[in-house]
């Protein structure tokens, strides 16, 4: 507690902004990569539903990475 191990400046300096950013990034990540996964499924002929699921999980992982980077937390 003496030195803050994760000190870095967060992009959002208000808590409402941070909360809105977390939910916004998550939703954006899941929707964007779910949609890209669905497109991949249609044009590449993957087994039914696999593209959407893989896309959503990838998008959620990317969104969580982005949240940790942006909000410096």
């Amino acid at each position: 507690m003496g030195d803050d191990l994760h000190s870095g400046k967060s992009d959002e300096h208000s808590s409402e902004g941070a909360a809105g950013a977390v939910v916004g990034y998550l939703l954006a990540g899941i929707l964007a990569w779910g949609f890209l996964g669905w497109l991949a499924e249609r044009f590449l002929g993957l087994p039914n539903g696999l593209g959407v699921a893989a896309g959503m999980i990838l998008g959620a992982a990317g969104a969580i990475y982005l949240i940790m980077k942006r909000l410096s937390a």
Binding site: K9, H13, E16, G17, G24, A28, A32, W33, G62, Y65
Partner: protein, 259 residues
């Protein structure tokens, strides 16, 4: 069972989307919603003009109320979200806050019992103004290319990760923010009005039955309608506050420098 009651009484049960469209007043261009928006604008202009006619050092009651509203928006919203630059935008946020609060509160005032924000057109316009404002301010301060680069690319991230992250950032900044601003306001007002309709009209439907025990339960329906009306006042003010706070946050993040 409820269908027989409706046939007997002619009450608009169950409530549907058609209940959100009151009949036109004087031709297709004069609707109840248009008059309500004009009324809200007139009320805000008259309030601020009358209370600031002769400002004194020791404020009168009206002047104190106007100053409190402006102080709330300037200190708690603009200065907290945007720092010192926020004071330039405080008048716009005050007007936005007052307009959204007044039009939301029309949902519980006696003669006008619906809020214009329960039609999605009005929140779309308000969110679009905020959206174009924060993009214009960001582009004007940083230049178009640097603003896009600052929004979409994060320093200190290995290059292949950016392929994953850029669609997410783009969706979040340019699509998610205005859409969620508009839909949040619209959904809260729509749902609030629908809840009030359910409890009030449902109370009358229960009251119209033949059984005395069913008529007795209509008391609970009317009680819930009263409780929900108070809750609706809280939600109206809270949604105005959240809309203005998030608008200030987005404009502040456009003005922020590189970290």
């Amino acid at each position: 069972m409820s269908r027989e009651l409706v046939a007997a009484e002619g009450l608009p049960w169950p409530p549907s989307v058609g209940d959100f469209y009151p009949p036109e007043l004087a031709g297709p261009w004069v609707t109840k919603f248009g008059l309500m928006v004009w009324l809200a604008v007139a009320l805000i202009i008259i309030f601020f003009m009358v209370t600031y006619r002769n400002p004194k050092l020791v404020p009168t009651k009206g002047q104190w109320m106007a100053e409190s509203v402006y102080g709330l928006v300037r200190d708690n919203i603009a200065r907290e979200q945007m720092g010192k630059d926020g004071i330039r935008f405080a008048p716009y946020f005050t007007v936005l806050f007052c307009f959204i609060a007044v039009t939301n509160l029309f949902g519980v005032t006696p003669l006008l019992q619906i809020s214009p924000n329960s039609h999605i057109a009005f929140p779309i316009v308000l969110a679009a103004i905020t959206f174009f404002m924060y993009i214009y301010i960001g582009v004007r301060k940083h230049g178009f290319g640097r603003y896009i680069k600052q929004s979409l690319i994060i320093p200190g991230v290995p290059w292949p990760m950016h392929v994953l992250l850029i669609p997410i950032e783009f969706l979040q900044t340019f699509i998610n923010r205005p859409v969620t601003l508009a839909v949040r306001l619209f959904a809260n007002m729509f749902a609030g009005h629908l809840i009030l309709l359910v409890f009030t009209v449902g109370g009358f439907v229960l009251l119209a039955s033949d059984n005395i025990l069913i008529q007795a339960t209509s008391v609970f329906a009317f009680l819930m309608a009263i409780v929900m009306a108070f809750f609706e006042v809280l939600v109206s003010l809270l949604q105005a506050y959240v809309f203005v706070t998030l608008s200030a946050n987005y404009i502040g993040s456009s003005l922020a420098d590189e970290h």
